[in-house]
């Protein structure tokens, strides 16, 4: 199969991976309507034609539902004219369709100009990436991930119910809802510090705390990869200074053991790992703070346990400090 550019090839491979074999690419394709029996298109020369480049993805075979995708690899953001053109294509295909339902989607690796949203809404076209209130730039990988998400969701949706997406702007809104949350994801994962296991998904401090908050500490280890804390419910956290991995994944608690550096109290006096464990095991996480070079966990609102790259610290937070030395 020939591709006009790299974006088109990637879109095709993503569509084929998501939907199976019912995906084709057509270049300079003459638009052929299903029925030429309508008075306005009947002529001695046959129905009117228009040439387009299109990625055709069949979402459902019975009743037939097809997505027509226009992949725009432009130096600048796509303009309203691109949306209008695709709107006309999809509208024509639907108007002269025997039974197939066509939806249209425009993907532009460089995004869209402001006026495109209004045309996408009125033509009921999906646009990827979305236009948001603020100027956001999504890189091409993110745009392609949006495309894959839309395809997979759309195929499931087509099997359940699709008629309600016919009327504008229902399909535009459906696609928008699926891709709009990439904004929060992009912002939340910008620092690349937190990772949810076992998927390896980029995460955030907030998600980490909502995963570990309230759980009891069951075990502590020090590995060559960092300090590890096993919690109730099969959750574990590994602190590696530059990154924090957490989640329900036994791989987190694996590594080459090493002798940890453990300290206690405000004065950071040396202590053993056994002493730290004797205090913290069985206690619940009540707070957390990321201090950059260590992660500090509050336990039962009485102790602070610090996870460092090379070990742990433990401090009693009860006052007066002098009377609550460990």
């Amino acid at each position: 199969m020939n591709f006009k550019n790299e974006l088109e090839r990637q879109c095709f491979e993503i569509a084929e991976h998501a939907l199976g074999a019912n995906v084709t690419i057509e270049h300079n394709k003459s638009l052929e309507i299903e029925s030429a029996l309508f008075p306005e298109v009947a002529s001695f020369k046959g129905p009117p034609t228009k040439e387009v480049d299109v990625l055709v993805a069949e979402l459902l075979s019975d009743p037939r539902v097809v997505l027509l995708v226009s992949c725009k690899s432009l130096a600048r953001p796509a303009e309203p004219a691109h949306i209008q053109e695709w709107g006309a294509v999809v509208q024509t295909m639907n108007r002269y369709s025997d039974s197939t339902l066509y939806f249209g989607l425009v993907l532009s690796a460089t995004g869209f100009t402001d006026g495109c949203e209004a045309w996408g809404t009125s033509h009921n076209l999906g646009i990827v990436p979305p236009l948001k209130g603020r100027r956001l730039t999504f890189n091409e990988d993110t745009v392609l991930r949006m495309f894959e998400r839309v395809l997979r969701a759309l195929q499931v949706r087509a099997r359940l119910q699709v008629d309600d997406l016919r009327a504008a702007p229902a399909f535009f809104d459906f696609v928008y809802r699926l891709v709009a949350d990439f904004e929060g994801h992009q912002e939340g994962t910008a620092d690349g510090r937190y990772f949810l296991a076992p998927q390896g998904w980029a995460s955030s401090f907030g998600e980490m705390y909502s995963t570990i908050g309230g759980r009891k500490v069951q075990e502590l280890w020090a590995f060559d990869t960092g300090a590890v804390m096993e919690l109730s419910g099969g959750i574990a956290v590994r602190f590696e200074e530059s990154s924090v991995h957490f989640g329900h994944d036994p791989e987190i608690t694996k590594g080459t053991p090493r002798i940890p550096q453990c300290v206690k109290n405000i004065d950071l006096e040396p202590c053993t790992l056994e002493l730290v464990k004797s205090v913290v095991v069985g206690k619940s996480i009540t707070s957390a703070g990321d201090f950059g070079d260590y992660l500090e966990i509050g336990l039962d609102q009485r102790f602070n346990l610090g996870l460092h790259g090379g070990g742990f610290h433990l401090i009693s937070t009860e006052t007066p400090f002098e009377q609550h030395q460990l």
């Binding site: 603020r134 969701a153 119910q161 809802r177 699926l178 949350d181 929060g184 994801h185 912002e187």
Partner: protein
Amino acid sequence: MLVTRDGEPIQIELIVDRLRQQRERVLADDEIGLVIYVGDLTVYSLEPTESGEFLARHVTEISRPRFATRVLRKQIGATVLSVTVDAVFVVKDAGALRKVRAERLEPGMVLASGDKVYR
């Protein structure tokens, strides 16, 4: 806020946990979040209007993003609303109407409904 046809509040955590098991309903469950189809169920969302009343809209999908969109508090007329930054309002502008997203809604603007934006 999600409610039933009778206006009874729906515990979103419970319904999401239950429906998540029905894989044929799951439109997306990935690093971005969870989207579940509920169009065949009688689930409605109560959305505040500029006049302070609530409008019940039939919900077709429940979305649980892992990274939520920012929420703003806006006072419009006598009502204080929580809206996402990209919620769209229609405002009067020199005799014409134009759309403005919540994050660009400025104090002093007047909505098409006649309500004034205070903050």
